[in-house]
Symmetry: C2
Subunit: 371 residues, 2 copies
């Protein structure tokens, strides 16, 4: 078991001059927070995690002489990603709802990793705040741990940094770091996108973790209340508190994508994938397009969740802007060889995804065109 | 080449309603920042890093069928650590000196990793700030890259998050993530600390990255000026600006420790190690002590750097508190079998370290006693 560390430490000794406690750092709260979250970490640990009580870093066994790599990987490549949750964290703070922002944190990194075809191995988190509040930290980290468990990653360690002069009371920030593994051949010799390939889109759960600066600007301008249901959203069939609608956690695509890829050891039906984050469909799906092909998407092929319809209306945001800031209902894309499209879609549906056939690859100039 | 990402993105399209740019997010500055630091990242890349232009995550080849692991590792264990630099970042901001805080960030994680006997493989950073300033980001990341290069780690990726409502103008925070590798046998079957073992201490470069809440409380109470040399420090032989003395970057022990360990493939002269961070010598060296042994250190055996003498005087901090908050001149400890102590010390000196024989392991109760 690796330690959950904390930046701030204070001594037990009696003080004459200034002490660390005088400087605003509370070790007991820090230790309590560490105790509280150990159980959450342990829930995510498999045999591959080595116990390391009191150690300085987390240990994860590659185990390639035995089960893991002997069976699955000839030439493993480590895949690493880091991300935060942006200003979504400020909505969590405003709503005092901290149990799902951890899923956002994990999803942002492991979904990026899934695009490389990688299976998540482990995750670490960094949480910086004004003052260590054990209950708050536990709520956030329990969400991180649960999301790790869902996508098969071990929560290998973390850092809690108490920095009263950098963060306002009640504020905190989160950063996440994920490491996964992919077979070398898949990493360096990916299938290329071809003319005629089909673009499958996986439904998003809502705004995910991008565009919150715009969301918050709209909330402010329209003076919308987070702590009650919104009548326009209600007309669109959404009865939740507005704050909860906006805090709906980012969908974890890593688990179904990993399982899908395991089913295709020989055949290579998937030409490319994209995690739809900042930049939207046009700014992410384009990253896998060669210079002579376009992805042509048909906007009528998928359901735009009500939250986007409402945000557009409130902010008077134009269509193109909406598509470049938000996922608009598609959180993840797969570009698939045409004769495999139905089979891939069906497998993903069985794994619990909403799958839309949203477009085609055509001759073009490396752009995403949305009609 | 993996991308340096950024949380904030804005579209190029003309706006009617609120746009992402109106919400305070500037994509051009973000792109410029990414461009500026690509060169710094590339400097740290070896053959083991796979090019991944436009990709969603960084790729690092384990390469175990060939050079790296075939020769060095039978059963590799991944070691992961995360840390920030605490409120030292606020001193960097106050002094507008950002070129060395990146070394602090890397050192905090890779030194922890060195304690597990691990060789650093790669590093990722997270930088969160009020507003993307390409020159600032480049200065910070170039420091990160240079430190990575020194300790043989690839800077595999990073995230820049612009969050104007979470960070004050000019403020930023940093988090670092490091992954390394160690042989399974060394990780799970360490040599144990024995009675009679010798404690070697490696000289620190100054305050390193712990205790800055206390440092800043002392600065405030005594109204000390950072932007000029301090007369008390000058009397102790230190002519630098006080701010520069306090920003002296954390020493990178990972490189010499890795090289030292490589020299002992069969013999096991080192019983334990410790990175002296928050908690000082008593709160870190104790982590490797069994319940029936103490580490007895002799304070007269090493030089306490002038900065600690001055901090103690200014703050009226008592001795025990100083030892529990600061490294007091010893940044890293090795507990060594007695007949190897001279040889290990000599090797470390040749690798550029100041080495002190600071104590012994005796019967006791698992504590660090400092006389």
């Amino acid at each position: 078991m690796p330690p959950r560390k904390k930046t701030a430490q204070t001594p037990q000794s009696a003080q004459k001059g200034i002490s660390y406690a005088d400087a605003g750092v509370d070790i007991d709260a820090g230790d309590l927070a560490v105790q509280r979250i150990l159980g959450h970490l342990k829930r995510t640990h498999t045999q591959r995690v080595l116990e390391n009580e009191g150690g300085f870093a987390g240990l994860f066994r590659l185990d390639f002489n035995e089960r893991l790599f002997k069976r699955n990987y000839r030439d493993p490549v480590l895949v690493a990603a880091t991300d935060g949750v942006g200003t979504k964290v400020l909505l969590a703070i405003q709503m005092d709802k901290h149990d799902t922002i951890g899923q956002d944190l994990v999803a942002m990194s492991v979904n990026d990793m899934a695009v490389q075809g990688a299976e998540p191995l482990f995750f670490l988190d960094y949480m910086a705040l004004n003052k260590v509040e054990p209950a708050l930290i536990e709520r956030v980290v329990s969400g991180v741990a649960e999301a790790c468990r869902v996508c098969g990653a071990a929560l290998l360690g973390g850092e809690t940094a108490e920095m009263p002069d950098l963060y306002e009371p009640g504020h905190y920030d989160l950063a996440g770091f994920a490491v996964g593994v992919v077979e070398l051949k898949r990493a360096v010799d990916p299938v290329r996108v071809n003319q005629g390939d089909v673009v499958l889109g996986l439904g998003s759960s809502g705004v995910h973790s991008n565009g919150y600066s715009l969301v918050r600007a709209i909330l402010k301008r329209k003076r919308l209340k987070l702590d009650r249901p919104n009548h326009e959203l209600r007309d669109l069939g959404v009865d939740d508190l507005l704050g909860h609608v906006l805090l709906e956690p980012t969908r974890l695509y890593a688990a179904p994508i990993t399982r899908l890829l395991r089913g295709y050891k020989v055949k290579r039906p998937i030409s490319a994938m994209a995690h739809i984050t900042g930049g939207g469909l046009p700014g992410n799906l384009n990253r896998s397009l060669p210079k002579n092909l376009d992805a042509v998407l048909d906007r009528s092929c998928w359901d735009v969740p009500p939250v986007f319809t409402a945000l557009k209306r409130w902010g008077g945001v134009d269509d193109e802007e909406m598509l470049r800031v938000f996922n608009m209902g598609i959180g993840y894309c797969l570009v698939v060889r045409p004769h495999f499209a139905d089979a891939v879609a069906e497998r993903l549906r069985k794994l619990g995804e909403r799958v839309y056939r949203i477009g085609r690859i055509t001759r073009g100039t490396g752009r995403v065109r949305i009609k």
